[in-house]
């Protein structure tokens, strides 16, 4: 077994037993990146020198057995949406192509404090707007299982880097499925925690009331380890939840006897890929065999989720992205006649078409005379969607659905029709609107050997049950052990 194929917990054992140093491991991954990233294109920036420095620091700790966490010396990558002090942070946008933050995102700081080694910054859809990384201002990331296909998005670079074994794990952000959908399409584990569980400070905002950071890993155990390091109250984020953080690895007991799993009929619809449907139904049977009971639940407002999402998220985005005006940092267009001209040229030039489309949509939905019909109505329906989940969770402990309606699609296949692209997130969006936790774990392959994701949704702040069910399923199968042949 190649080192780079191993999980965090496997590598941690080796580091702890001194079979391996973090420096060796880091160099192994950097070589792996050199070898395959020309093909996969998962990284915008590779932070080679910093990584080696961090690895040496970690080795000191490992040598002295001091302050060791399960992440000490583990090489990871991070989505280029997280601000990293002194390291270019672009959000895959031309408008931030030269932006070097003077601060670390809270999550970055926590991971660094835990001893993780950061290898680089992953490609993504510009400002996290997209489902394929085709909206990156720089290049499209390839799916390690089939390089003619997209890795999903927006955290496509993170997902591909994990699936291509360019790092032990990665972190992404999820506004409408941007962790779970690429995790599904790349055959890895991706968790979106409860809104407020992980601080948003220093994570470049797309839609503030929906954005949440989370881990993207090779298995469920790694996911729990990463979440342990990332979760927690942050006084810098007014929306972060001040609740104790459990040790999520303790939830990994395989014991699902008596747990109630809800299956919402609204998620098994026409247009759902037949192989995906089969795999998900098979997963339900696996859990049943382990002693879980399965019941039907209904989430009646599901059909409005995509519409609500594209009003709420774009409205917030239109405001969040106003700061990119060429005045203070980032790209500024040259040769402007006056202030308005400078704004217009900078933003026309600096933003890609999908970002502009969403800024326009959001501006429109907030405009005088339209606010009530669009933004306000969408906010009201959002409350109904949230209530759907509250009602459903009175009857069950978790809800099980497919993560995405289709497996990885061909690069260029959906770019001409934004609406078709938006439907890639049809199963993941409601979870963000409701603020609940959701995970995608591997549950099989299509006949074309493309990974399939199983989504498990939980009650607010009940990541433990989500992880418990995921772990039970994972341990009964071996999908997570499959590696893409890059």
């Amino acid at each position: 077994m190649k080192l780079y194929n191993l999980t965090i917990h496997e590598l941690h054992e080796k580091l702890k037993k001194k079979e391996l140093t973090s420096l060796e491991l880091t160099e192994t991954f950097l070589k792996r990146i050199d070898a395959v990233d020309g093909k996969i294109k998962a990284f915008i920036t590779i932070t080679r020198e910093n990584a080696i420095e961090q690895a040496k620091e970690a080795d000191k700790k490992l040598a002295s057995n001091k302050d060791i966490t399960p992440l000490t010396g583990i090489p990871i990558s991070v989505k280029d949406i997280f601000c990293t002090k002194g390291i270019k942070t672009t959000c895959a946008s031309k408008i931030l192509s030269n932006f070097i933050p003077p601060y670390d995102a809270h999550v970055i700081k926590k991971l660094k404090d835990a001893g993780a080694v950061i290898l680089g910054k992953n490609n993504m859809d510009e400002f996290a707007m997209g489902s394929s990384t085709e909206n990156s201002a720089f290049f499209t990331t390839k799916n390690p299982w089939d390089i003619e296909r997209v890795p999903g998005g927006s955290s496509g670079g993170s997902a591909a880097s994990v699936a291509a074994n360019e790092c032990a794990a990665s972190i992404g952000t999820d506004t409408g499925g941007s962790i779970r959908q690429p995790a599904a399409l790349c055959g890895i584990v991706g968790l979106k925690p409860t809104y407020g569980r992980v601080s948003r400070y220093g994570m470049i905002a797309f839609a503030s009331s929906l954005d949440q950071a989370g881990p993207m890993t090779k298995d469920v155990t790694d996911c729990a380890i990463m979440l342990n390091a990332m979760a927690g109250y942050d006084p810098q984020d007014f929306t972060s939840i001040n609740a104790p953080v459990p040790d999520y690895t303790k939830a990994l007991t395989k014991d699902v006897k008596g747990l109630k799993i809800g299956i919402p009929k609204e998620y098994f619809i026409e247009g759902l890929d037949i192989d995906i449907e089969k795999s998900v139904k098979h997963a339900i049977d696996v859990l049943k065999k382990q002693g879980a009971s399965v019941i039907d639940v209904s989430l009646p407002h599901t059909e409005y989720a995509v519409a609500v999402y594209y009003l709420v998220a774009t409205a917030e985005a239109s405001s969040n992205l106003a700061r990119y005006d060429g005045v203070k940092y980032g790209h500024r267009a040259k040769d402007s006649k006056n202030l308005i001209d400078m704004y217009r040229k900078t933003r026309s030039d600096g933003f890609g078409p999908e970002v502009k489309r969403r800024i326009m949509l959001g501006t429109y939905s907030l405009s005088a005379g339209y606010y009530d019909a669009y933004y306000k109505k969408a906010s009201q329906v959002r409350t109904l969607i949230k209530r759907d989940f509250e009602d459903a969770f009175k009857k069950c402990d978790v809800i099980l659905t497919p993560t995405a309606p289709t497996p990885a699609f061909k690069i260029g296949e959906k770019t001409a029709d934004p609406l078709t692209m938006y439907l890639s997130d049809i199963f993941t969006i409601s979870c963000n609107l409701a603020g609940i936790p959701g995970i995608s774990i591997p549950c099989g392959f299509t006949k074309d050997n493309l990974p399939i994701g199983l989504q498990i949704l939980g009650k607010p702040l009940d990541e433990e049950t989500v992880l418990k069910v995921s772990f039970a399923y994972e341990q009964a199968t071996d999908w997570h052990k499959k590696r893409a042949g890059v």
Binding site: P101, Y103, T239
Partner: protein, 500 residues
Amino acid sequence: MSYEAVIGLEIHAQLLTNSKMFCGCSTKFGAEPNTQVCPVCLGMPGVLPVLNKKAVEFAIKMALATNCAINPKSIFARKNYFYPDLPKGYQISQYDEPLTKKGFIDVDVNDSKKRIGITRIHMEEDAGKLLHGETNEDINYSFVDLNRAAVPLIEIVSEPDMRTSDEAVEYLKALRDILVYLEICDGNMEEGSFRCDANVSVRKIGQKELGTKTELKNINSFRFIQKAIEYEIKRQIDVLEDNGKIIQETRLFDSDKGITISMRSKEEAHDYRYFPEPDLLPLEIDAKWIEEIKKNLPELPAAKRERFVKGYGIPQYDAGVLTSSKALANYYEKCVQAYRGQGVKGGYPSEGWVGGQEIPKVVSNWVMGELLRLLKEDGKDINQPSVFGLQPESFAKLLKMIDEGTISNKIAKDVFEEMFKTGKDPDAIVKEKGLVQISDESAIIKAIDDVLNANQQSAADYKAGKEKLFSFFVGQVMKATKGQANPALLNKLLKEKLSR
């Protein structure tokens, strides 16, 4: 046809918190540009606002002082517009669910009370400042200073309850006094920590519906407020009299010309696309906290004024002047107390009366007259501690010296000026300069004799009935005694001499 004006004011008051509204940066005025900034107030990517509790407390104080009920839950909203002094491209403000419900204050206008309604008070952040290049090399540049960005403000919106510019000015002054008394705003219009926009319309007397209003901006002194409103009222009446129509618009006041100029019409008005700020949870205010703040509210200007009138028996006018600043009012009270504590020979003035006036009125005369005159001449502010080199105890001592006839009222004024400038004790000044009043009858009689001898013709004229000349002789004797003759004694002795 006669018209009446309808005026409403929107006031922005910068709160005197040490740190900004959503980050820990200092709010101090006058620092080098962009030295009081951090990623949060610079609007860098990914940063988030954290609400300053002190700012909320200050806003609640103002709400309580203006009889506004506080909403247990209020919502911050984003006001979206592009401008280089607005780093995030939106201002965090409050919109349809502000901090307070309606309230009011009572103001005195031309000796009668008028109640002005307050529609709402809400919290928001200030913007930065733009400086435009002036020299040859930077004439094409504008510079952005974000030190002021995100300094906390409250906006106080009045009902359209004012009918004259006098009422508007009195309301504005009263609000400023309250803010300063509460020590939550320094009330400085010139530095922009207290700003006012005025909504003005006119209608025919008797008409119920409001006329079309204009919004006046860029008014940075009380005098300009008065001028801008008066100009605008006249302009609107002229337009209507010419059968014209008032256009709803924003107008800028040009203080050099004393006129208002159209800035933008309603059609050009911004659509701010307000929506709830997703980075801040709804602001929930505990009733207990409000009670606590209420308990610790200081005495407000109106209450103090009333207490001065009732407690000290001074006229309404005096009370108004003395309470115009909290520091002045405190100083006045200390002086009265010190004076009362002195005790004077012959029972005066511990029985309460000096020269036919009560102690508080005597002190009031001196504070309003001499102290305020000297403060003004020296451009000093009573709030500056340097003024308090003039101790209330010394002040009382000076007044006592007048009572006891040690110095005359006139000389006391000179001594006071010296005290004001040097902070010295009146005793020392009087001794140093030999200013002690002459109450020795023989010395005064000698001076009178000298004067009458030198002016025999005038003395004869007086005796022949030209009584006006009396003051001439007083003046001459005073001159001869360098103003140190006891005036009462001089009057008495001179009358005796001349009647012989």
